[in-house]
Point group: C2
């Protein structure tokens, strides 16, 4: 294989497996090339990926040396991705009876879910996250993409007790949309004891679901490293959880006049 | 940017955006290189990607010329991916009261869901699929990955009527696990009229859910190009749908003696 082809292959492998460490030996065997050639190739890939602004490549030298690609999003790209979503939300056609805004299609579009997942993974990439958890249903694609970029599994919390999950741990929570007490369930086969967990939710109004997930994580002995919520309503200003990272704020006080949407990342900058 | 770096950047962009056509102009502008250089670079990337067995790169020449990466899975890789999953299912620890087998964690692991999605996309990549649909919940990650590789949106069918989906189209279906008549719902904001649709389901016993999805697709005027199901039980031999592509067969006649699992792809070969 020629040098140019080796570079293409290394790029493809690193890019397809974010946050996974590959040893130099893996590449020398695969590419049938010497270690010094592979080191040179990796240096070029490292440079190129960093030029694209999609992350950085870390290398470890020595006998147990290796290469790993950490995806990242620049703040300019984050604003541009979230702004495109926010603009769509403001379309009057998205208003639903009862003061809701339709956004299922956005989170079920791989383009958006991948980009949002990359943004979230970029924020939590250096915290040693071992598991991403979310409560069904609409947040699943984004949680999966985040898990992919962080190279960890996703733990799915159910809103009803399913026989296919086996024995479960459950907690009660206040459902924001209906203000009723509901129950959420996590299979006991998902072992989160002493695990560093990132909680993802698609939507927050009162914060009941996020609070429920935090309580459930406490029950199973997990350490919550962060709560990231894609869409958060401005009101009520007081949420049931204190520390969370919102991506897009929704101001639906007067939905008839059009939803006002703003990005958390812009407010911060 | 040097030639080597251009090759790395082109690989990264094509790999991150399967089945998306990029014009040569896009690359000449981005890389600040002449068209003949970019054509040479693309030829090298095409060769390298094809050497990895992860797909092929198609190029169109002429004024409206462009480049597109089609992911593919070799049959050897397909067998190896599915066999690893089948082996895990046979673990006695996965038995659940009531004759079920626990597999939620497998489909919620990005590594497996990405690989299964790539296998499915590889099978249907040349059929002009415009939408992937699935019924919540466990199949969502695989459906999303398939949609990503096919570069199309995913339409999520709900098992209960949610206010956040707006007006819905619904059909009744027979739920295999409980043998009860249930209802499934698709938001009317997802326009599938005359669209070529790929139906994905995580599990099939009687085929009630798949049959329901087929009926729902008929109601909304979509054309079902295929039904792909990840896990299918051997019994009953007669399913409610005739044409479907199973990935892994489960033989749970005598679960106490251990689940027997076989790959559809191996039987075919």
């Amino acid at each position: 294989m020629k040098k140019n082809e080796r570079i293409s292959v290394i790029t493809k492998i690193l890019s397809d497996h974010p946050n996974e460490v590959f040893s130099y030996n893996y590449f020398t065997d695969l590419l049938e090339a010497g270690k010094s050639s592979v080191c040179e190739d990796v240096a070029i890939v490292k440079n190129a990926i960093e030029l694209t602004g999609t992350g950085y490549v870390e290398t470890f030298s020595g006998a147990s040396g290796g290469v790993v690609y950490h995806p990242q999003v620049t703040s300019a790209e984050e604003v541009s991705i979230l702004k495109e979503i926010a603009d769509q939300l403001q379309s009057p056609a998205r208003k639903i009876q009862g003061g809701f805004v339709y956004y299922s299609d956005i989170l079920s579009n791989p383009r958006y879910s991948k980009n949002i997942g990359r943004i979230i993974a970029s924020k939590y990439g250096e915290m040693g996250i071992e598991y991403v958890v979310t409560t069904e249903t609409k947040g699943i694609p984004v949680a999966m993409e985040t898990a992919h970029y962080l190279n960890v599994p996703m733990g799915l919390i159910r809103r009803s007790n399913r026989v296919t999950e086996g024995a479960t741990t459950s907690v009660n929570y206040i459902s924001g949309s209906s203000n009723k007490i509901k129950t959420m369930y996590l299979s006991r086969r998902i072992d989160l004891k002493d695990k560093k967990v990132l909680v993802i939710d698609d939507f927050m109004k009162g914060g009941g679901t996020a609070k429920g997930m935090t309580n459930l994580m406490e029950e199973v002995g997990a350490e919550v490293m962060g709560i990231c919520v894609i869409f958060v309503t401005r009101s009520p200003a007081e949420k049931l959880v204190e520390n969370f990272t919102p991506l897009i704020w929704m101001d639906d006080e007067n939905l008839e006049a059009g939803l006002r949407v703003s990005l958390h990342s812009e407010a911060e900058n």
